[in-house]
């Protein structure tokens, strides 16, 4: 069998592959990241690479223009080497900030923001360290080492206490110094130890005993295992502050952008282990970065609290994920007990504990219970809505008396996945758009001010809102080409019009950055499903949006969302601005609260028990609400009076 040497530019990485290995697979082997939303099925057209030298075989014409094919573009998942190759990965296919931690990227600014969440009033961290000075045993007081220690700890932390064999084995040498001289040895009592105690469901465990006073070295990790982004905060449990924060893209992305394609990937041979490893490796990479920057030893990280959607937490724990996507949608576990982090593969303190945010079901995960905890929605008297807008959309309605949640099958329209010029919110992503009504001139800003590479979710929402206000799309989202024929081009794929947001000569990719009719349709469906989900929840309890006093917006792009744009396109209900609160990444926020307060950790479990899940797919009125919401901003204009007023004012300026 022949082998081919493949060199990837611009990373200058090489790998040798066997005949029959796709270029995408080769890139994975070489640790070169090529965006493949569909997981290599040839259906997304995102894994564009340029063959600079050598021959390949395979068909990849569907997503490429004639000109691009002439320039050597291929889809990496669809072609196979026929000789040694030099392959260039163009900017649009490279995941900027994917590898390692790009602290400069605005994408992570929210996450990296330290101490954004106020520490809970009562600092009562899950991991307690007790500095103890144990009295030296005597003939009058011959209590064994273990009992001596447990008695001392029990005075500080009541309730049942357990202690493993490993710690007991070490104990005598921690309490004493052993001096060995030639043929004799001598035990000298010290008695100064620090006991590390962690709750494990109903009992406390004495995790470890350290010599001397180490009580000021007590750290924990708050983790958000997102479908798109994995976030880790290193929290100082003695002070309640966040020492460092880091984030990186979920490496599972190479298997597909959405949860379902990941679950499918897990079904292939070795897939489940690979998916588990990918997540664990991501967290490990983040820990490396955190401990280096904070100058903290891994052995002083005693716990991790992981939040995330149900599928991601299953991947992290290595649980069976397949059942999540199959009716009747029963996950392996919704409330997994605390486990040793080492068992999962996390190299923190060897006996350190991993806590997992409790999940409600297959479609409402630990990120939502964490989000509720972080928002405080479950404690408030006023009626509030929580929108979690990420790769999936979830909505929670309630107050201290009740909690209902539902999941909107939103799809990854906001995260760049299914958008033709979409990308994750990384350097070069257009994140805000303004279109002037008179000449339809487009003004856009990009993350880091870099030359535009593509559009991220906020940019897309902004673009649709602006296109609506400028009359470039009508209220059903159809392009009004006659407004400015020169600003449109015809799609090489489906022959429909595409609006040119950034012409080729101004973009970083050398291609026009366009918004296609399909992009607009997807976005309208996504926003329609989220709005209709909230609408259904509100109606299910016999209320209207006007009764909602607070709206919390959580999610990856939390703080940078433009509320006006969200309301203009009908993603969010039109409510007075002061009722809308951005809570950023509440998944990690909730995890952090739980790590800093045992009461909060208990509370999140109470939240889980209190939530009622509403399955929209069996609600006959949902489809009706959905079609009604698939319009800009909504078919029932009375729900969006100010948007309609602005549209009418605009109509006065627009010359048909």
């Amino acid at each position: 069998m022949s082998e081919f040497r493949i060199r990837f530019l611009p990373d200058e990485r090489e790998t040798v592959v066997e005949d029959g290995t796709s270029l995408l697979e080769a890139a994975r082997l070489a640790n070169v990241y090529v965006g493949a939303i569909c997981g290599g099925e040839g259906s997304c057209g995102k894994c564009r690479v340029i063959v600079r030298q050598g021959d390949v075989e395979g068909e990849s014409t569907e997503y490429l223009t004639r000109d691009e094919i002439r320039r050597g573009y291929v889809l990496a998942c669809q072609v196979f080497p026929r000789s040694d190759l030099v392959v260039e990965v163009p900017p649009e296919s490279r995941l900027v900030g994917y590898e390692g931690i790009d602290r400069e990227s605005e994408r992570f600014r929210d996450f990296a923001h330290r101490g954004a969440e106020a520490p809970p009033a009562q600092l009562d961290p899950v991991i307690e360290k007790f500095y103890l000075v144990l009295p030296e045993p005597t003939l009058d007081d011959p209590t064994a080492d273990q009992e001596r220690l447990l008695e001392a700890v029990a005075k500080r932390r009541g309730g049942p206490l357990q202690m493993g064999l490993k710690v007991t084995r070490q104990l005598p040498r921690v309490l004493r110094r052993l001096q060995v001289r030639r043929s004799s040895w001598n035990w000298t009592w010290d008695g100064r130890v620090t006991a590390v105690v962690a709750p494990r469901s109903d009992v406390n465990e004495l995790l470890d005993v350290e010599p001397g006073d180490t009580s000021d070295r007590n750290y924990g990790l708050a983790l958000d295992i997102g479908t798109t982004t994995v976030v880790a905060h290193l929290v100082d449990l003695t002070t309640g502050t966040t020492r460092e924060a880091a984030a990186k893209y979920n490496s599972q992305i190479r298997y597909g952008a959405d949860v379902i394609s990941r679950i499918n990937a897990a079904r292939r041979p070795g897939g489940a282990a690979a998916m588990h490893q990918a997540v664990v490796q991501d967290v490990e990479t983040l820990i490396d970065d955190l401990v280096k920057r904070a100058q903290v030893g891994r052995k002083n990280i005693y716990c991790a609290v992981a939040s995330g959607n149900t599928a991601m937490l299953h991947f992290l724990l290595g649980l069976e994920v397949d059942l999540i996507r199959l009716s009747p949608f029963v996950p392996a576990a919704v409330n997994p007990p605390p486990v040793r982090a080492a068992e999962v593969g996390l190299r923190i303190q060897p006996r350190g504990i991993l806590y997992v945010m409790p999940m409600v079901g297959s479609f409402v995960g630990g990120d939502i219970t964490a989000g509720i905890l972080a928002s405080g929605l479950h404690r408030g008297e006023e009626l509030a809505l929580l929108f979690d807008i990420g790769t999936n959309g979830e909505v929670v309605l309630g107050n201290r008396d009740f909690l209902v949640a539902c999941s909107a099958s939103a799809g990854p329209a906001f995260e760049g996945g299914s958008v033709s010029c979409g990308m994750r919110a990384a350097s070069g992503a257009i994140d805000s758009v303004r279109i002037f009504h008179r000449n339809l001139a487009v003004s856009a800003t990009t993350i880091d001010g870099a030359p535009p590479v593509g559009l991220c979710g906020t940019g897309l929402i902004d673009a649709l809102s602006e296109m609506l206000m400028a009359g470039i799309v009508d209220r059903s989202g159809r392009f009004q080409v006659h407004r400015a024929p020169e600003r449109f081009r015809t799609s090489p794929e489906d022959g429909r019009p595409e609006f040119i947001l950034v012409p080729a000569h101004q973009s970083a990719t050398g291609r026009d950055l366009v918004i296609t009719q399909a992009d607009v349709e997807n976005l309208i469906r996504t926003k329609g499903s989220i709005y209709a989900a909230a609408d259904s929840l509100v109606r299910a309890v016999g209320l209207s949006f006007q009764d909602i006093r607070k709206v919390y917006i959580a999610g990856a792009f939390g703080n940078r969302l433009n509320v006006t744009s969200c309301v203009s396109i009908g993603l969010l209900p039109e409510l007075p601005g002061e009722r809308i609160h951005f809570i950023g990444n509440s998944s990690v926020g909730g995890a952090k609260l739980a790590i800093l307060s045992r009461r909060m950790l208990e509370e999140v479990h109470q939240i889980r028990e209190r939530i009622s899940y509403i399955e929209l797919m069996v609600d006959p009125a949902y489809m009706e609400k959905f079609t009604s919401a698939c319009f800009l901003p909504h078919t029932d204009a009375g729900r969006f009076p100010s948007v309609v007023r602005r549209l009418e004012q605009r109509a006065g300026h627009v010359v048909e």
Binding site: D474, R475, S476, R478, Q480, H482, E624, T627, S628, C630, F631, T635, D636, A637, L647, A651, E656
Partner: protein, 320 residues
């Protein structure tokens, strides 16, 4: 014990739309037809008035129909090669309006030019002074070329033009606006879509009061109940004050009823199904009278006996 007053008090009302223009109004029609104006549920006279009973238009095609079955051929075959003569026949038969379908402009059905279509419309307008409904061929690219021309030659006649949809509404709306015609807004059996089409059209500055809703049609035995429930819900919404559903409703009963095999099959099935001469018109009449209960203001029909049966049923219901 007194009988409680069960009368509903509706806040909304169906708008009224007039089709056609007499010489006094700048046209050449001998009569006009006013649709809508109901203030209550159909045929519940105690609930609210029905000032304009449902009007009926009879179909005229601009070419000889290829597949009209025997009972229809008996009525029209001597005139159907000439749309003008056919239109005259329709008036003789007692229709309120002429429903002209420009079938022959379809690229596969003759591909006649906008000018030829305009000639046909002119001829029909001259031959028959009933108000006129004009439909394109359902191929957007072609209709966009033909309908403005047709609207232009019919200027002043206050015709009803069909149909705008969510996907294709701009050209026809502009034409109707420019030459003073009314519009049919088509949506596929979906209240939200119906509203959305109305919004799109009015966003162009076209008056909501000049729109007729066409929620698509299905005949007896072929999903009529879906249309029925859409009609009913739309009407209740309109009467409850939903301005976007308050337009008169049109149903294309003739086209749908005569597609049913029960209506089309000839006397080879007479033994089981009864004679074709009665069966087809009955199928059409039953479809129409059923759907009228849901709330409908303008019926497009084909067979004169079906039309008469519907009129009779309507007059009985209104007198009752």
């Amino acid at each position: 014990m007194s009988v409680p007053d069960a009368k509903e008090r509706w806040s909304g009302k169906i708008t009224t739309v007039t089709i056609g223009a007499t010489p006094a109004e700048g046209g050449t029609r001998g009569s006009t037809v006013t649709l809508g104006g109901e203030a209550g549920i159909p045929f519940l006279s105690f609930d609210g008035e029905t000032p304009n009973p449902p009007a009926i238009a009879l179909d005229v095609l601009d070419v000889e129909p290829a597949d009209w079955p025997g009972p229809l051929a008996q009525v029209y075959s001597d005139v159907w090669s000439d749309p003008a003569a056919w239109a005259k026949r329709v008036k003789e038969l007692g229709a309120d309006l002429v429903n002209l379908r420009l079938v022959s402009i379809h690229p596969d059905e003759g591909d006649r030019s906008p000018e030829q279509a305009a000639e046909t419309v002119k001829a029909v307008l001259e031959a028959c002074d009933l108000p006129l409904i004009i439909w394109g061929c359902d191929v957007p690219e072609k209709d966009q070329r033909v309908m403005p021309k047709v609207a232009e030659v019919a200027q002043g006649e206050n015709c009803l033009l069909g149909a705008v949809t969510e996907d294709e509404y701009r050209t026809l709306t502009a034409a109707a606006q420019a030459y003073g015609h009314k519009l049919i807004a088509l949506s596929p059996c979906d209240i939200n879509k119906a509203k959305q089409v109305n919004i799109l059209v009015t966003d162009m500055g076209y008056p909501l009061e000049d729109i007729i809703i066409y929620p698509s049609t299905a005949s007896l035995g072929y999903g009529m109940e879906y249309i029925y429930s859409i009609l009913e819900r739309g009407r209740l919404a309109a009467l409850s004050g939903d301005k976007l559903m308050a337009q008169p409703v049109l149903l294309d009963v003739g086209l749908e009823a005569w597609r049913a095999k029960e209506a089309r099959t000839g006397d080879e099935a007479a033994e089981v199904w009864g004679p074709a001469a009665h069966r087809g018109p009955l199928w059409e009449a039953v479809t129409a009278t059923d759907l009228l209960q849901g709330g409908c203001d303008l019926l497009i029909m084909r067979h004169p006996r079906a039309m008469e049966a519907v009129r009779k049923a309507v007059s009985q219901l209104i007198e009752a």
